[in-house]
């Protein structure tokens, strides 16, 4: 798509352009890694600051961290179940926090002020590579969760209530990561595009409600991704009777 025919100084639309880094024979999307490092850095800074001096009466950032922890624990516990949620809580929580901070960072930080030779900075989750990586990690984890908890009996799940389910369950293993990754990618990219197009067409006032809507979808998408990941893991470790 490149740039549209006429160009305003503050609004420019670039889709599908990347800042390529070449490491050996590997090609990387530099802008994705740059923002993801900022996201990870922000997360780690928050966590390190909040866990510095933890007390029984929480103060300052510790309150926020405990709220997040409690929220993630509830999410993991309701989806995975009492028995196995402790093992998977860090993974679910990391997914949630990483996606949430990525999405909101993409929506809130004026990345455009930083000029790149090619492509532009934005939410790491607006790149298909990131979302597919996350979705494949979820697939691997639920296989690992099922196999490590139940051994080969995990595959009973494929013929669970009747063997007729077998082809559907096999198809599900492919559709799960596909839907997870495309849902997140599509929502975040679409949000960025809508805002960009609106800013491009009507640079004042009008984009603001859409930006708020974007913040809302961003948060919801993070929650949906984490909840579904937890649900898949919970499905894999669940005992059938």
């Amino acid at each position: 798509m490149g740039t549209l025919p006429f160009v305003l100084p503050f609004a420019e639309l670039e889709v599908g352009q990347h800042l390529y880094w070449q490491i050996g024979s590997l090609r990387l999307h530099g802008q994705v890694f740059m923002t993801s490092w900022i996201v990870i850095g922000a997360l780690l800074a928050l966590v390190v600051v909040g866990t510095q001096k933890m007390e029984r009466d929480p103060r300052g950032v510790q309150n926020l961290l405990e709220f997040l922890w409690d929220y993630i624990r509830d999410l993991a516990r309701t989806q995975i179940g009492e028995k196995a949620y402790r093992d998977w809580m860090p993974f679910i929580g990391t997914l949630f926090l990483f996606i949430f901070v990525s999405n909101w960072g993409g929506a809130l930080v004026p990345w455009r002020l930083i000029k790149l030779p090619s492509g532009e900075l934005g939410a790491p989750t607006a790149d298909i590579n990131t979302t597919v990586a996350l979705a494949l990690l979820v697939s691997l984890s639920y296989f690992y969760a099922g196999l490590s908890r139940k051994g080969l009996r995990y595959f009973e799940y494929y013929v669970h209530p009747t063997p007729i389910m077998l082809p559907f369950k096999i198809v599900e293993d492919f559709t799960k990561p596909l839907s997870l990754s495309f849902r997140l990618f599509g929502n975040i990219l679409a949000d960025e595009l809508v805002v960009a197009v609106l800013v491009f067409l009507v640079p004042l006032v009008l984009p603001i409600p859409v930006m708020f809507l974007g913040l809302f979808t961003s948060a919801i998408q993070a929650l949906i991704f984490a909840t579904l990941a937890a649900y898949y893991i919970g499905e894999a470790v669940e005992e059938h009777h």
Partner: protein, 153 residues
């Protein structure tokens, strides 16, 4: 042309898969381990310690409350007993003092009676002796009168 670029046929595009994918996966796995060590474990420890503390404190408070209620009942019982004992003591003391009063009264009455009796007897004996004396004197006087009369003759 546009759609071709969008779907990443050659260079760039939205669906441009490359080494970003596995490296991002590795990055997220690393982040999971780091957050587990820096966030989930320590915060979980603090939260669970607090939950344990709250549960313990509540149980202890309940126990103490029960103890206090038991003690209160005991004290109330003791108070009742003490009141009853005091009442009994007062009654006894009243009875004692009453008895003492009666005894003292009886003693005093008896003493008074005795001394009155003694006085009466004394009066009686004195009167008697006076009477005797008078009798003797009158007899003497009579005799004397008779003698004088006889001697005159």
């Amino acid at each position: 042309m546009t759609s071709l670029l969008l779907f990443g046929a050659t260079e760039g595009g939205l669906f441009d898969f490359d080494a970003t994918l596995p490296l991002m996966a590795v990055q997220v796995v690393l982040l999971t381990f780091i957050l587990n060590a820096l966030f989930f474990r320590p915060v979980g420890r603090v939260v669970e310690e607090r939950e344990g503390y709250v549960i313990n404190t509540r149980a202890e408070a309940k126990k103490r409350l029960a103890e206090v209620e038991k003690l209160e009942a005991e004290l109330r019982e003791q108070l009742k007993e003490a009141r009853q004992a005091a009442q009994k003591l007062i009654n006894e003391a009243e009875q004692d003092s009453d008895k003492l009063y009666r005894e003292a009264l009886a003693l005093a009455t008896a003493e008074a009676n005795a001394s009155r009796e003694k006085a009466r007897r004394e009066i009686d004996s004195q009167r008697e002796s006076a009477l005797n004396q008078l009798k003797v004197d009158s007899e003497k006087l009579g005799d004397l009168i008779v003698e004088r009369l006889l001697s005159v003759k």
